[in-house]
């Protein structure tokens, strides 16, 4: 186990991806960042690397609204392969939607840790990363 936190961003919005990367980098925590522009790209990466789940992210910031495969569709696919994944992955659903339908739906999926409304905010992001790192050390 190394101390590097593998962080994954799945979002079709390039500006968002840019701000997330910049924000994460500003925390100076040891982490490795990967980004996908939709759910399909992300799930394909996981399927390709099922044998070596060490490359799997520790945490995923998953957008809901995406072309090709949206956040919920990604979760459906992920739940299918989850039993074959040895690694614990924390997933945050991130969306600009305040729609209670979306929030409710996300809360119903047990594999999702929390629902975060965009923008995340630097402080909140820091706290999340710190917590995750704490967990790993304990």
């Amino acid at each position: 186990m190394n101390d590097v936190l593998k962080t994954c961003i799945v979002d079709d919005d390039s500006i968002y991806r840019f701000t997330m990367v910049k924000a994460l980098e500003s925390t100076k925590f040891p982490m490795e960042i990967m980004a996908f522009s939709d759910g399909e790209e992300a799930i394909n990466f996981m399927l390709d690397n099922l044998e070596k789940d060490s490359v799997f992210p520790d945490v995923i910031f998953l957008d809901i609204d995406m072309p090709i495969m949206d956040g919920f569709q990604f979760m459906e696919e992920y739940v299918k392969i989850k039993p074959r994944v040895g690694k614990k992955i924390t997933i945050y659903m991130v969306s600009s939607s305040l729609d209670p339908v979306d929030i409710e739906r996300a809360n119903k999926i047990s594999a999702i840790s929390d629902y975060i409304v965009k923008p995340i905010g630097l402080n909140r992001l820091k706290n999340i990363i710190e917590e995750l790192l704490e967990d790993r050390r304990s």
């Binding site: 924000a23 072309p67 729609d99 965009k118």
Partner: protein, 754 residues
């Protein structure tokens, strides 16, 4: 010799005449002249036939026979005389011979036996009448020879006793027919008394005939004595059963009349010639409250009659008999009155009650009134029931009127229907109601409902249950009404349907109201649908603002945060570039939303034009000529079925541009786009389909957000998720809808129903 004869003949005390061969009188006896009311001069020297011209040819022929030697003797014969009378005569006609032994003429000897003959006939007549009388009166005769105790009966006796003709009656045997022994003993004593004292008998007995019938008989008898010795006991026995029966009936009738008179429920009052009450029965006492003693000989019926009714009665009688009321000598009382009507009687205590009274005048043989008989019954109860019935009928009528209802009664066997007044009124009938048959009713049934009505009645007859039937009918006045019929089916003891009794209600108004309710409900449903649609649109809009406006704002916030953290100019320039992108994006989204809002808010229906689809397609291909050229796309239009649609032109152009533009944008990589636009009519609505051979979309996955704002399904650089959103907004604003079918890598078809 002849002369000698002549003298002899003339002196003969009987009627004798001597005639020559020419039937001329030579001599007649005085008796002859007397018998035939003639004189000597009338006769002698005259021909017999001149004197008696009434003598017929048959007699003349007899005379000729005698002139040849025959003798003609007749003991009695009627001699119809010329004056019309009948003379009964006997005669002896024979020839006389002269000295030479030749026939010299005829000797006629006659006798007038008219008197004897008439007496004989009279006796016969009397006997015949007696016989008839005894036959009719059923009187038999009997006779007992007292010395031999022999009993003789006439024919009638056999009939009364109902015994055979060969029955031999005896005195003891005859008594056996008596029904009661005491009668028998009395009869025996009577016979003994007749023998001993010659006394007569008169008794009534009841007998049993040989055939067992009861006969009441009256027996009368007396004794005939010769030299004081009774030798014959004879008399009659009359069957008086009929008389007794009549008597009994009369008795009974009398008792019945008595009973009626004494009845306490019937009023019988009679008056005398002065109008004073002379009979006042129990019933009258009981119903009127007066005693007979108070009334008889003292009061007139006026005391309990109403003056107006009495007056009306008198007037009616005068009219009935067609008399002149102003005639002072006229008295209605003398008319042959027999009048039955309702009267109001007043009791002693002043209360009144209705009666039905028959008043009969008792007039003497000269036609002068000797009083009246009034027979009356209290009809207050009947009247009450009648009034109640009347009232209920009125109520029914009223109820029928209020509820627009009538009733009917149909005799199926004779096909006679009776309708209530209200039913006629309901069907706009003016004038007298008449009896109708099924055909009359059926002809009035609305043509479109005839089959229904016929089937309903057939079924009702068969299953003997009449379900609720509602149908239209053309009334007598030609109005169309909707009626509802309910009925009971009545069957006879063989289970055959024979009658139907039912009601008929005019439900036209309620039917109309029902229709209005249905219409209102439908309208409400439309409104509700519209509202729910608008609600959904509102939700969509919330969703859009939430997703599409928050996202760029969130990005702006994030960029601002990073901007503050940025350490050098290069980084800051980079971040500024991102700001630009976000703001551009936000501007586009806002513009689209404004466009969509305009579509929703403005009334697109007001800007309708007749649009030529070929023209629209041409404009679209011109606008897209650049991409069509670079992609090598083929766009075909087939508007043969529908070439023109009335629509908002801007929307139509926008729809064509978006859908055809999309089809080219999302073309398959390995083939040139081919787009076919076709118009159709389906279920009365115009339809346009846009079919392409492009990438296709997995609708299972993306169908729910196909027409959403900023939804993209392809990693296409130009995908903005605006076109289909706007298209759908426009189509729906015009009351239509848009759907899609697609297969990945085969193509997509959009269908718009206008």
């Amino acid at each position: 010799m002849e002369k000698h004869h002549q003298i002899f003949i003339e002196q003969t005390p009987t009627a004798i005449a001597m005639l020559d061969t020419n039937m001329v009188y030579l001599a007649v006896s005085k008796r002859w002249l007397k018998d035939y009311k003639l004189t000597y001069e009338d006769v002698v020297g005259h021909c017999h036939y001149d004197i008696f011209p009434e003598i017929g040819d048959d007699w003349k022929k007899d005379h000729q026979e005698c002139l040849k030697g025959a003798v003609n003797i007749c003991e009695e014969a009627p001699f119809p005389r010329a004056d019309g009378s009948i003379q009964w005569i006997y005669w002896d006609v024979r020839p006389w011979y002269n000295l030479d032994g030749e026939i010299g003429g005829l000797l006629m000897h006659t006798g007038d036996i008219t008197d004897q003959k008439e007496k004989e006939l009279e006796k016969k007549r009397v006997e015949s009448i007696l016989n008839d009388t005894s036959e009719i009166a059923r009187i038999s005769t009997w006779e007992i020879n007292l010395s031999t105790q022999e009993l003789l009966w006439n024919k009638m006796a056999y009939k009364i006793y109902e015994v055979a003709d060969d029955f031999r009656p005896t005195v003891d045997g005859a008594l056996e027919f008596f029904k009661y022994d005491e009668d028998r003993q009395a009869a025996k004593i009577a016979i003994q008394n007749a023998i001993d004292y010659g006394s007569a008998v008169d008794m009534d007995v009841e007998m049993l005939t040989a055939k067992g019938n009861t006969v009441w008989a009256k027996i009368l008898g007396k004794v005939e004595s010769i030299s004081g010795v009774p030798i014959r006991f004879y008399g009659i026995l009359q069957d008086v059963s009929k008389i007794r029966l009549t008597e009994q009936l009369l008795n009974k009738a009398d008792k019945e009349l008595e009973a009626i008179f004494n009845s306490s429920s019937i009023v019988v009052i009679t008056t005398d010639k002065d109008g004073i009450i002379n009979r006042f029965n129990n019933g009258a006492e009981k119903l009127l409250g007066y005693t007979a003693a108070e009334m008889i000989g003292l009061q007139k019926p006026e005391i309990y009659l109403s003056a107006e009714e009495l007056d009306q009665f008198k007037k009616d009688i005068i009219i009935e008999f067609g008399k002149d009321a102003t005639d002072i000598n006229y008295n209605y009382r003398n008319e042959n009155i027999n009048d039955t009507r309702q009267w109001t009687y007043k009791r002693k205590d002043g209360t009144t009650f209705p009666v039905l009274s028959t008043i009969t005048a008792v007039n003497n043989e000269k036609g002068i009134n000797e009083g009246f008989i009034a027979v009356a019954t209290d009809i207050s109860k009947i009247k009450k029931v009648k009034d109640e019935l009347h009232r209920k009928n009125d109520l029914l009528n009223l109820a029928e009127k209020i509820s627009l209802m009538g009733h009917w009664h149909w005799n199926i066997v004779e096909d006679i229907a009776i309708w209530s007044e209200n039913l006629y009124a309901l069907l706009d009938h003016v004038g007298e109601p008449y009896t109708i048959d099924f055909e009359t009713y059926f002809n009035m049934v609305h043509d479109d409902d005839k089959e229904l009505v016929l089937q309903h009645f057939e079924k009702a007859k068969e299953v003997q249950v009449f379900g609720n039937l509602t149908h239209r009918i053309i009334t007598f006045a030609g109005n169309v009404k909707t009626i509802q019929i309910l009925a009971n089916v009545i069957s006879n003891d063989k289970g055959e349907t024979v009658e139907m009794i039912g009601t008929c209600q005019d439900v036209t108004e309620s039917k109309k109201a029902e229709q209005r309710l249905i219409d209102a409900k439908e309208e409400l449903e439309v409104v509700a649908q519209k509202l729910s649609y608008q609600n959904k649109q509102l939700a969509d809009f919330t969703h859009i603002t939430s997703h599409n406006l928050r996202a760029p704002v969130a990005n702006l916030n994030s960029l601002m945060e990073i901007y503050k953290l940025s350490e050098n100019d290069e980084e800051r320039r980079d971040i500024f570039g991102k700001f630009d992108m976000v703001i551009d994006r936000l501007t586009l989204t806002l513009n689209t939303l404004i466009e969509a809002l305009k579509t929703k808010i403005s009334d697109a229906q007001e800007e309708l034009e007749n649009i030529d689809l070929n023209e629209i397609l041409e404009n679209t291909t011109q606008t897209l000529s650049g991409v069509i050229l670079t992609s090598g796309a083929v766009v075909k239009g087939d508007f043969t079925e529908v070439s023109n649609i009335t629509y908002n032109k801007i929307y139509m152009e926008s729809i064509f541009l978006n859908l055809i533009g999309n089809a080219i944008k999302y073309k398959a990589k390995d083939r040139a786009p081919e787009i076919i636009v076709r118009s159709k009519v389906k279920n009365g609505r115009n339809i346009i389909t846009f079919r392409d051979n492009g990438l296709g979309i997995d609708l299972d996955k993306h169908g729910h957000k196909l027409f959403g704002l900023n939804k993209v399904f392809h990693r296409h650089p130009d995908a903005k998720g605006v076109g289909l959103f706007l298209t759908k907004t426009q189509v729906e604003a015009m009351g239509g809808n848009i759907t899609a079918t697609s297969e990945v890598n085969v193509g997509t078809t959009f269908t718009i129903i206008f």
